[in-house]
């Protein structure tokens, strides 16, 4: 299986790397990969359908528990049939579609192959994390495919929307996967199926997983990206956005429902979302004039339907889901191909500009009509069988709360499906063609045989599966067994007897016919109804509002937090640094010690305080520097009073030096500060300074009071005792610096060294002469040595 995935990768990268050299032949090359997969799948089919899955286990990252375990069971086989079977046909079709390749056409083929590989990864992965990896790769390739026409802003916006929604969903899903996998102790789907976990974390994780599945399968309210994605060329839409990628979410729900349907709110969520999507998609499809958009909304509706079928966790209903999955893949891809042919030959997909076709188009129209009939659920086609099975499953086996309501939803949804299928057919025959549009479709050149063949193949398979369901019976039954081992799926039949489902089908068809007959007044009614509720934001508007809100919000945050002002940055840091230690310190605030030991401390203290306040208030720089010096000298005086003359001496020397340096530097600066800051800045500054002062004061008290508690012997006494005998020094401070903590002093010298190096470097680069203008001329020219 890895060989197949590697083959996709190889061919895909090869085509992308070859640029536009291959032109549309690239699609012929690309067809090899799915063809090989189909051939391989056929050779394995017998064993797989007998319930013996193909398993390949590879450990990828053992430490993180990441495995690349692949497993192909019957349901996987059904998905492979979709991914590779339709993939092959789409490639063939694309050769005809891109008869006039533009720049970037070949790249489409390469990306499509890469996508096919990623999608195969999704359906073959047994390890949830491997599935996630492939899942994200499909999002990325889909993004590139939608946005392939990089000159079109519409394409780029649609691509962006698609990847933002599906990518976000994917990452949310990853959280869910980790939560579930971690709690359950395994990431293997097969092992989860064998031993279903449960609990609060699992329920939460499942909601996350479902969000991922809903975004991928364009369920409400995340479905807005799918219609937008229709800007991609039709072969891409037919493949990714109807047959395969959008099924990934459905696939995941199908896989997990038998395990988790009754855990948490899984079933409720899936059913509500699926039902909403099915109805809304159908209603919107009815209003489209663009055939492709009509199909896109139809796809949304059908995806909702699939969710309803797979999300219950009941095998009888899931069996209908498998049938519908296959049927939908076949008819929807064929219909997309037909639309693509119309678009290609006539130049429009708008049903108001179509006025019927010449007789050479008959085969194409037959394909279109049969596909639409299958979509509408008319006997004896595959679509009919699938829908019958679905209704039957719900009516006979839906024994959970709300199953009756879901039956009604399915019936209404099917009526809508019938109606938009009819609209599609009528549009194709030119019923909606307006008089003022150029009736060019009548004279349009009919598509070539090769162009038509893939759609025809799909249509034939739809009819064949409808007339002889035994062809797919084994696959559907084995798939159901693969999803939920140990059950007994019923056979797939065209005529299942006269039952409730048949009655419902008849209701669907007759109501659908009525809707079609009265489509004009009903359309007007629908427009009026939707105008009336237009104040409710659509998913599309919601998405844009989110984006806009994010941008606006981030602008506001940035303007607030990152305003470029050094004083404000400093204020933030100082405030945090002042408050953070204050919190633990206040709790152990000691009683105030004796504040005054000697009378001389009072004038000195006043000097320090006044000078400090003065430094903050004066407007001349030099005066502020001198005030700071006064603070230092005052401190030196306090040191003397406390009996530390050496410390005072050091302080005096340093203060003097600092003042001299200040004066030297201040020569180059304006004498006064120009205070241009707003009025609000002043109280803030005062507040921050006060806070810092209070914090330091409290810390000083707390830390000096804490010293008594330290159990270790007083280190200063030992140092004094050892300084003369050990280090032959009488000044204990000197001995500490050069002996006891000599290594630290060495390090400090290194720091000074670096500071000196830095200063020298700055000075030297500043003085070095530059050849005038050489940097401005563009990139540096290395061959000229710089003069120094």
């Amino acid at each position: 299986m890895f060989v197949l995935l590697a083959l996709h990768l190889l061919i895909g990268v090869g085509i992308v790397a070859s640029g536009d050299r291959l032109g549309r032949r690239a699609f012929a090359v690309a067809a090899l990969a799915p063809l090989a997969t189909v051939v391989w799948a056929i050779t394995q089919a017998d064993a797989v359908l007998d319930g013996r899955p193909v398993v390949v286990e590879v450990t990828w990252v053992e430490q993180l528990g990441l495995g690349l375990d692949l497993r192909l069971d019957a349901f996987g086989l059904a998905m492979v049939a979709l991914v590779s079977g339709i993939g092959f046909l789409v490639c063939v079709y694309a050769v005809g579609y891109f008869s006039h390749p533009k720049q970037g056409t070949a790249r489409l083929a390469g990306l499509m192959t890469l996508f096919a590989g990623a999608m195969l990864g999704v359906v073959m992965a047994d390890h949830l994390l491997a599935l996630f990896v492939a899942w994200e790769l499909t999002s990325v390739t889909s993004y590139l495919l939608i946005g392939n026409d990089d000159r079109s802003p519409r394409a780029r916006a649609a691509a962006l929307q698609a990847i933002l929604i599906t990518g976000t969903g994917g990452l949310v899903m990853l959280v869910g996967i980790i939560a579930v996998g971690h709690t359950a102790g395994t990431y293997r789907i097969s092992e989860l199926l064998a031993d279903p976990p449960s609990g609060g974390v699992i329920s939460g994780g499942l909601v996350c997983i479902l969000i991922g599945a809903f975004t991928k399968s364009a369920q409400a309210p995340f479905g807005s990206w799918l219609p937008g994605a229709m800007v991609a060329p039709t072969p891409i839409s037919a493949y990714l956005h109807s047959a395969t990628m959008v099924k990934a979410g459905v696939y995941l729900v199908a896989r997990l429902s038998p395990i988790f349907a009754t855990t948490g709110n899984w079933r409720l969520l899936v059913l509500v979302v699926g039902a909403t999507t099915m109805i809304i998609g159908g209603l919107r499809a009815l209003r489209q004039y663009d055939l492709k958009l009509l199909l896109a909304y139809g796809t949304v509706s059908q995806l909702g339907f699939l969710m309803l079928l797979f999300g219950t966790g009941q095998y009888q209903i899931a069996q209908a889901g498998v049938a519908l999955l296959l049927a939908h893949g076949a008819f929807k891809a064929a219909l997309f191909m037909v639309v693509g042919m119309v678009d290609h030959e006539v130049g429009t997909r708008d049903i108001r500009e179509l006025h019927g076709f010449g007789s050479a188009w008959s085969p194409t129209l037959v394909v279109g009509v049969l596909g639409a009939a299958s979509m509408a659920g008319l006997p004896p086609l595959f679509g009919f069988i699938a829908k019958e099975k679905a209704l039957d499953g719900y009516v006979e086996h839906g024994d959970f709360i709300g199953s009756g309501a879901i039956v009604i939803v399915i019936v209404i949804g099917s009526i809508l499906t019938f109606a938009y299928s009819a609209r599609f057919v009528l549009g194709l025959f030119g019923v909606f063609g307006t008089d003022d549009a150029d009736p060019r479709s009548r004279a349009a050149h009919a598509p070539s045989v090769l162009f038509l063949a893939p759609a025809a193949v799909l249509t034939v398979s739809t009819v064949a599966a409808g007339l002889a369901p035994v062809l797919v019976d084994r696959l559907v039954r084995a798939s159901t067994l693969a999803l939920q081992p140990g059950v007994t799926p019923s056979p797939v039949e065209l005529w299942a007897g006269f039952n409730t489902a048949l009655v419902l089908s008849l209701i669907v068809i007759s109501t659908g016919l009525v809707l079609t007959a009265y489509r004009v007044p009903l359309g007007r009614l629908q427009r009026r109804a939707s105008d009336a509720i237009s104040w409710i934001p659509s998913a599309e508007q919601g998405f844009l509002a989110c984006l806009r809100g994010m941008t606006d919000g981030s602008k506001r945050v940035t303007a607030l937090v990152q305003n470029g002002s050094l004083p404000i940055y400093l204020a933030v840091i100082v405030t945090v640094a002042a408050v953070a230690p204050l919190i633990p310190a206040v709790s152990v605030f000691p009683s105030l010690p004796k504040l005054i030991d000697a009378p001389i401390q009072i004038p000195l203290g006043i000097l320090v305080v006044v000078a400090a306040l003065g430094a903050a208030v004066v407007r001349r720089r030099i005066a502020a520097a001198l005030m700071l010096g006064a603070v230092g000298y005052g401190m030196a005086g306090l040191f003397i009073v406390q009996g530390a003359p050496d410390l005072a001496l050091t302080q005096l020397v340093i203060e003097t030096l600092a003042t001299v340096l200040f004066v030297l530097v201040l020569r180059f600066l304006p004498t006064k500060w120009a205070d241009r800051s707003p009025a609000i800045a002043r109280p803030i500054r005062i507040g921050v300074s006060t806070l810092a002062g209070v914090s330091v004061f409290v810390m000083a008290l707390v830390s000096s009071a804490a010293r008594d508690d330290v159990a270790a012997p007083n280190i200063s006494e030992e140092m004094i005792a050892r300084s003369a005998p050990d280090a032959k020094g009488n000044n204990v401070v000197n001995v500490i610096l050069v002996d006891f903590r000599g290594l630290d002093t060495l390090g400090e010298i290194t720091v000074l060294l670096v500071a000196a190096v830095g200063a020298v470097a700055l000075a030297r680069t500043g003085r070095r002469r530059l050849i005038p203008g050489r940097r401005e001329q563009g990139h540096a020219r290395p061959d000229q040595g710089a003069g120094s």
């Binding site: 990828w60 990252v61 430490q63 993180l64 996630f132 994200e136 990089d150 000159r151 802003p153 780029r156 962006l160 990452l171 949310v172 990853l174 980790i178 971690h182 974390v201 844009l544 994010m550 941008t551 981030s554 602008k555 470029g564 050094l566 400093l570 933030v572 840091i573 945090v576 640094a577 953070a580 230690p581 919190i583 633990p584 310190a585 707390v702 830390s703 330290v710 159990a711 270790a712 280190i715 050990d726 630290d744 390090g747 720091v751 670096v754 500071a755 190096v757 830095g758 470097a761 700055l762 680069t765 070095r768 940097r775 563009g778 990139h779 540096a780 290395p782 040595g785 710089a786 120094s788």
Partner: protein, 552 residues
């Protein structure tokens, strides 16, 4: 009767990486100053080979530790363990790569000379000292060596006022941060009676510290966190990052994002996980808050930026948030026999992010040099048509930063999230994932620009479009607002940006970037690392798993 004085025994070979870095730096400086200008590239070669030698020596140390177990050096001043060697190798490799980048960047400018390269070596020396410090004073020395070198490196481009401004801001704020750090050490000393990490841990184990000095310890930890939080650039201490990253010469930005951040995280680990596991329940919530703020605020601010280096600066803040997520997970197990995977995830993330950021900056440096030092996002437009391979490399590096599977970035992010989930920190794990989405959007914006085929100047609308996904005409208005907001908000830095925005570049023919050998080597190396670790990360995670056996 005092005992005979016995000097500490010094294992010189174990110190060799440090000595090589120091010697190399001094040699480069002295020899460079005394001799005439060396032929081109030789300064870079000298510093790269010095750092390379140090890294190789560290590999030898690694095997010695494998054999003998961890220990301490120079009377307990330095730790000799796998973690120290891992960081040494990481930092030295970063120096090798950045030296090669600097060579291209300074050539032909007034910065050409030995100083920049000597400072790179000195900064790495400081980083290594920080990472292997077993004494808080020694750690402070390392911090100062690193910081002083970085201040100068940031400001080294004296012809650009942005560089000067960045250097100044970094210096002033960094000075405060260092002071807080030192104050924190003092308080911690008051609380524990020692600055030596081994002694501190022993003191806790003996149950010496109780009662009031707890407040001292907590206040000390708070101040240490302020100092280190500044260096790792976690919100709310991140304010300097965008201005400094944007202002610094591009290779230096890469250096700060790799060496600067890695050293600070190493120091954070030594202080919190190694020295203060007994207070883990006190500092873990702080880390949690820092992580949360960094994760949520940084990508929000990145979205509206129009300067690619500024975008990446915010990206680096959000990456710091991710590392803090893993760090928080490590905090749950600090001091236990089974350390969990948190710390391992942090070092993996550090290594991965360092490679990614150096590679990304290499490409940006190349492109921006060809456009006269401009670093706005628009310079990347059309890169795909000029240099497809370069564009592909940049794209790969960016998607790795966004955390896309099969790249190293995914392995790093996954490790962090998994560590958090394993320890039950679900809230922060989910926030991290959500933040990753917004951050991914930022990288996506850069990628889209790279692959746009339109020339710069014409794509103001395009950019607005990309950033909003809305119809082009009203998006344009929004983009203008965005520029105005940025211009009004940031004083001088963004004023420069705003002014240059007005310069009409429409129709200006763009000379294709000249890719030099040294930059090409850097890009190739980082891309290879990204892919190799992304596809087959097993060996790398095994290596990283060793680091949790700290010397105490």
């Amino acid at each position: 009767m005092p005992q005979e004085f016995v000097g500490p025994s010094i294992d010189w070979f174990a110190l060799s990486p440090l000595l090589v870095l120091l010697g190399g730096g001094l040699f480069l400086l002295v020899a460079g100053a005394l001799t005439p200008r060396w032929p081109r590239g030789w300064y870079a070669l000298a510093s790269a080979s010095t750092a390379g030698t140090a890294a190789v020596l560290s590999v030898f140390q690694w095997s010695i530790i494998d054999r003998d177990g961890p220990g301490t050096l120079v009377a307990g001043a330095l730790a000799f363990d796998h973690f120290a060697q891992f960081m040494t190798i990481l930092l030295c490799s970063a120096v090798v790569l950045v030296s090669l980048l600097c060579d291209d960047d300074v050539r032909g400018t007034d910065r050409e000379g030995p100083e920049v390269f000597a400072l790179l070596l000195m900064a790495a020396l400081g980083g290594v000292v920080m990472a292997s410090a077993n004494d808080l004073i020694v750690m402070f020395l390392g911090l100062e060596i690193l910081s002083l070198a970085l201040y100068v490196l940031v400001a080294s481009d004296r012809r650009r006022s942005e560089s000067q401004e960045g250097g100044m801001k970094y210096f002033v704020l960094g000075g405060f941060a260092s002071a807080f750090f030192l104050y924190g050490i003092a308080l911690l000393y008051g609380g524990t009676g020692s600055t030596n990490i081994s002694d501190i841990v022993a003191g806790f184990q003996a149950g010496v510290s109780t009662g009031r000095e707890d407040a001292l310890i907590l206040a000390g930890v708070a101040l240490l966190l302020v100092g280190l939080g500044f260096k790792i650039a976690a919100v709310p201490f991140h304010v300097w990052v965008p201005d400094v990253y944007q202002g610094a010469p591009t290779p230096i930005t890469a250096f700060m994002a790799s060496v600067g951040k890695a050293s600070a995280f190493a120091a954070l680990l030594r202080v919190l996980v190694v020295a203060l596991p007994f207070h883990r329940d006190d500092w873990r919530p702080v880390i949690w808050v820092l992580a949360l703020l960094s994760l949520t605020l940084a990508p929000m601010m990145a979205i509206v930026q129009t300067n690619v280096k500024r975008m990446l600066a915010y990206g680096s803040i959000s990456h710091a948030g991710f590392m803090l997520v893993a760090f928080e997970a490590a905090g749950h197990r600090a001091g236990e026999a089974d350390p969990g995977t948190g710390m391992q995830s942090v070092v993996v993330y550090l290594a991965v992010y360092s490679a990614l950021t150096i590679g990304t900056m290499a490409v940006i440096s190349l492109v921006s040099r060809a456009q006269g030092g401009d670093t706005r996002l628009t310079i990347l437009a059309g890169l795909a048509t000029r240099h497809p391979v370069l564009a592909l490399s940049l794209t790969l590096l960016l998607i790795a930063q966004a955390g896309v599977p099969l790249t190293s970035g995914f392995v790093a992010k996954f490790g962090a999230i998994q560590a958090a989930v394993t320890e039950g920190s679900y809230v922060i794990a989910i926030v991290a994932m959500a933040a990753a989405v917004i951050a991914a959007f930022v990288y996506l914006r850069i990628m889209v620009t790279v692959w746009m085929s339109t020339a710069p100047g014409a794509d103001r609308q395009m950019l607005a479009y990309v950033s909003l996904g809305a119809p082009a005409d009203d998006a344009d208005g929004d983009a203008a607002d965005g520029d105005a907001a940025a211009g009004a908000a940031a004083t001088s830095t963004s004023t420069a940006t705003a002014t240059s925005t007005e310069v009409d570049t429409t129709g200006a023919a763009i000379a294709p970037e000249a890719i030099t050998l040294s930059t090409a080597v850097v890009i190739a190396a980082t891309v290879t690392f990204t892919i190799v670790v992304g596809v087959a990360p097993g060996w790398f995670l095994d290596l990283a798993a060793n680091v949790t056996n700290y010397a105490r």
